[in-house]
């Protein structure tokens, strides 16, 4: 086996040194009746070339060569080449959690820079590195608010990513945390009157997403005012990190739970991604996950260490803030490099391009389909309602190697034939025109079919 660095002679010599006759003697502690006396029934040993072929074949069966208008919590942005050059360095790729600070300064300093940039972008004072993804970050942020307020119930916006809501429901099941939903209004944003009615003196926090699942930017200021007036905390989930380049961050939030996938992380069929929690300094001791702090060594030289470990499971065991241990460190490094490459000006320009492509696309679609929630500000997603079932339209789009918007009826039955479309800087005008054209064609054929029926009836 090519990964094993021993010759048969080495193994012999080692067994001899240990004082054993055969490898089987090493497994003597395992009762004989449980030992496996056959080969595992798994694929035979393959050459590297065969492995590469196997995955190339899988790639061809997996949407390779399609243009996609899907967003909904996973976004297709350009990834600068140097991200992979740098994260492929063995010193980053094959290192462990930086417990031994003296030989982990590279990882530690990069996390410190990550924490800083997340703070700059979100308007928060501290950020961790990292949580599994945006959904678990939101769930852990809510549990943090429950600990901080001493209250237990939670108000959740229906305009939050439906899968994030599902994950929160799973986490909350056995925590004695009742969840109640607050609906969205005709503008696609949290219904403020409904929020006033739903929030109670028992509410620990209100959890919203902005830009929300429909791509609409919430009125965070108004929501924060209501939330804080009731003594609850505001937790804001951000699923599309690139929005932070042009959309004012939810500075009124008490906790921000982010999915940073948009910052240089491949779509990868849903993971690995990078969750982050950011908050105010006063809340830091209830924050879950790894934190890096600046300190000095015995010579007084600046250095970095993992800190505030008394929050964590390896010290506090069942009294820890969370059970999280392994997180998404290498993915956080991708995010870090992405933020460094684009920086202060690039992130803004990048976000502007997303905004422009989306505005153009929304305009094209609005000519034929109906644009929902059109009066509200949006970032790079929009909802189009068609007369025909969007699954049928998408079926035809596939023939043009285009993946259409996400049909919403699975998550929001009341939205009927609506679908969620996304454009990024990588979406071309010609793809937009083709997709909008096919939607227009669908509308025309439904209309003419209807007219035909009406004519026959007349």
């Amino acid at each position: 086996m090519r990964y094993l660095p021993k010759s048969p002679a080495d193994r012999e010599a080692m067994l001899k040194a240990i004082g054993l006759r055969s490898v089987d003697d090493l497994f003597a502690p395992i009762p004989a009746e449980y030992r496996l006396n056959r080969e595992l029934k798994i694929p035979r040993q393959m050459a590297e070339s065969e492995i590469v072929d196997f995955f190339r074949q899988r790639s061809r069966e997996n949407g390779d060569g399609y243009t996609s208008f899907l967003g909904a919590g996973a976004y297709f942005h350009y990834r600068p080449v140097i991200i992979d050059s740098l994260i492929s360095r063995g010193e980053f790729l094959t290192a462990y959690t930086p417990y031994q600070a003296e030989i982990s300064q590279g990882t530690l300093q990069s996390i410190f820079e990550f924490q800083t940039m997340i703070c700059e972008l979100t308007g928060m004072e501290v950020a961790n590195a990292s949580m599994y993804d945006g959904s678990t970050a939101a769930a852990e942020a809510v549990m943090m608010a429950v600990r901080l307020t001493g209250r237990r119930s939670v108000v959740v916006a229906r305009s939050l990513h439906p899968e994030y809501r599902e994950v929160l429901a799973t986490y909350a099941t056995h925590q004695g945390m009742p969840l109640s939903l607050v609906d969205f209004g005709g503008d696609g944003r949290v219904n403020l009157k409904d929020l006033e009615k739903t929030i109670t003196p028992e509410t620990a926090c209100v959890l919203i997403q902005s830009p929300n699942f429909f791509g609409t930017i919430e009125d965070v200021e108004a929501i924060a005012e209501i939330t804080h007036r009731h003594g609850a905390m505001l937790v804001v989930s951000i699923a599309e990190a690139v929005s932070l380049g042009i959309v004012e961050p939810p500075r009124q939030a008490d906790v921000i739970a982010m999915e940073a996938q948009s910052f240089g992380v491949p779509l990868g069929f849903g993971g690995p991604y990078c969750g982050v929690i950011a908050t105010r300094e006063k809340n830091v001791r209830q924050m879950p996950g790894r934190l890096v702090g600046q300190t000095v060594d015995k010579q007084g030289k600046r250095g970095f260490v993992l800190t505030l470990a008394t929050r964590e499971q390896h010290i506090r065991r069942e009294k820890a803030t969370s059970n999280i241990c392994t997180n998404q460190a290498l993915v956080a490094l991708m995010v870090n490099i992405f933020m460094t490459v684009y920086g202060k000006v690039g992130l803004k320009e990048l976000a502007k391009q997303n905004l422009a492509k989306t505005a153009y696309a929304a305009g094209q679609f609005a000519k034929h389909g109906r644009l929902l929630f059109d009066g509200s500000p949006r970032f790079n997603e929009f909802v189009v309602e068609t007369s025909e079932d969007p699954y049928a339209i998408n079926g035809r789009l596939l023939g043009h190697k285009i993946v259409g918007g996400l049909p919403l009826k699975k998550f929001y039955p009341e939205l009927g034939n609506a679908a969620l479309w996304c454009c990024t800087e990588l979406t071309t005008r010609s793809a937009i025109d083709t997709a909008a054209g096919l939607v227009a064609e669908s509308e025309r054929s439904v209309r003419s079919a209807k007219e035909e029926v009406e004519e026959v009836a007349r």
Binding site: E48, R89, Q100, T173, I246, K298, V403
Partner: protein, 494 residues
């Protein structure tokens, strides 16, 4: 020992400040293509939601980004540089073909919501990996959704709770041996179970009499790591399972140490009901400085209705798809389907090994640990002389007489060119030195390690201060952790 050892020589590495300290207005590492749609008036589109300023984000050029992160990287130790014997962490070689195949276009850029019709490649990867892991563990079904080991523990306990609940009583507590990893009790708390500690016996194994006394109808499950954190196989494992099962409890196995078992013995065959695997330990996906991991949970048939949604299924037309309609499911534990990129890497590792390679891997891992044990026995105190599997735990008892503790020895090991072993864990061994070489070490590398450890033991006798002041060869030494925690500085400020 001043500037070189048989394993390592000191050489110059570059200084590097924080990226913010290199930033100046007008530098850029990015370039966008010209816009092919009309420009927009941001203020008009966004109104009050428009962001004007991005604060102190850096402005640097591409070469500076490359040098910055390359310089930082050289300050890290890594498996690619040498032996990384962290016990319980399984720091094995991370094959590069895994990285290559994870970056093939359709795999790297597949959207989680793209139609199933054009997701057959990803679904087949998930199905094939699931089948391999089920065969390796001897279990009946699996979920790949959990993102890490601790997340897998939570998922497993949620299923255990749902199983008991369906039988009419969710039960109240989880038994956890005193040798367990901290995630076990932390997880039990997240699923709202009380934790009851279980004592180890004089051989470092579960105390059967104590288990019998503590087991009753309030106990939902025992969370057991096997081999345990001492690297010892629980020889009475079936007896343990019987005691639990007799009172309706379940046996949860923390698969952190599965690297000692693959291809040699299957947990499903010795009474385990639920277990998680760490793809980033046993199945070679890179640790990446702390993640990403992946923590699939394998289960016996009786727990199958409770798997998280969705589940990969074969459809009547022969294609693969996701099944969301599972009324007894514990729900979702993560968005989408889990850390898919890690599934790709783990499957590539299994394919590169095949059945014979995986078995040989396990044999070499156990051989290596026992070789180190033999090499250091006598030099370091061995608190439990029970046979070792894939790791060995010594204590600093002999060195403590000179005032030198496990952390000091660990820090001194850095000067010899090695990453330290795991210190001060498991908690049942005061001053533990927990060493797991994995199968990836050659005899030569391990001989150097044994030599270094012996040399340090000699230094402890002759010149303990050198060890107490270690490391002497690093950029920084013995950072002040107390100050870091007392007055936290968690971000750079201009």
């Amino acid at each position: 020992m001043k500037h070189s050892t048989p394993k390592a020589t000191r050489h110059v590495n570059q200084n590097e400040g924080l990226i913010f300290e290199k930033s100046s207005a007008g530098k850029a590492a990015w370039k966008l293509p010209p816009l092919d749609v009309p420009e927009v008036d941001t203020a008009k589109l966004l109104g009050a939601a428009e962001r004007k300023d991005l604060g102190n984000m850096p402005e640097v050029s591409e070469i500076e980004v490359i040098r910055h992160f390359t310089r930082l990287s050289t300050w890290n130790y890594a498996i690619d540089l040498g032996m990384y014997p962290l016990g319980s962490c399984t720091m094995k070689y991370n094959p590069r073909v895994n990285e290559a195949v994870a970056r093939v276009e359709g795999i790297a850029n597949g959207h989680p919501y793209q139609p199933e019709k054009i997701s057959q490649g990803a679904l087949l990867i998930m199905k094939t990996l699931s089948e391999c892991l089920i065969e390796i563990t001897g279990m009946d079904a699996i979920t790949l959704q959990p993102a890490a080991g601790a997340h897998g523990e939570m998922t497993g306990l949620l299923m255990i709770r749902a199983y008991h609940h369906a039988k009419g009583n969710p039960r109240k507590k989880i038994l956890i041996p005193d040798s367990a990893h901290g995630t076990n009790p932390a997880t039990a708390a997240m699923v709202n179970y009380a934790v009851e500690n279980l004592k180890s016996d004089s051989r470092g194994m579960v105390d059967i009499a104590a288990l019998e006394a503590q087991m009753n109808e309030d106990v939902a499950a025992l969370m057991l790591t096997n081999p345990n954190t001492l690297g010892v196989f629980e020889q009475q494992i079936h007896k343990i399972a019987d005691i639990l099962h007799a009172k309706g409890g379940l046996l949860y196995m923390d698969g952190a140490n599965m690297n000692a078992l693959v291809g040699k013995v299957r947990p499903g065959d010795f009474g385990v009901d639920v277990m998680h695997l760490n793809l980033h330990k046993t199945f070679s996906t890179p640790h990446g400085g702390g993640g990403p991991g992946s923590g699939p949970v394998a289960i016996k048939k009786a727990l199958e209705p409770f798997l998280p949604t969705p589940v990969v299924v074969s459809k009547p037309d022969g294609t693969l798809g996701f099944d969301y309609n599972r009324p007894q499911s514990v729900g979702r534990v993560r968005s989408f389907y889990g850390n898919f990129g890690m599934f790709v890497r783990a499957l590539a590792y299994i394919q590169a090994n095949g059945p014979d390679g995986l078995r040989q891997t396990t044999e070499d891992a156990v051989l290596n640990a026992n070789y180190i044990r033999k090499g250091l026995e006598g030099t370091y105190d061995l608190p439990y002389d029970t046979p070792s599997m894939h790791e060995v735990v010594f204590s600093d008892k002999l060195q403590a007489k000179k005032g030198v503790r496990t952390m000091d020895i660990a820090k001194r090991l850095i000067d010899y060119g090695f990453h330290p072993y795991t210190t001060a864990f498991p908690l049942i061994v005061p001053g533990a030195l927990m060493i797991e070489p994995t199968e990836s070490e050659s005899k030569e590398e391990m001989d150097l390690f044994v030599e270094a450890m012996k040399s340090i033991a000699q230094e402890v006798e002759e010149d303990p201060q050198t060890v107490l002041d270690a490391p002497h060869s690093t950029r920084v030494s013995r950072l002040d952790e107390t100050q870091a925690a007392r007055k936290p500085i968690l971000r750079w400020k201009p």
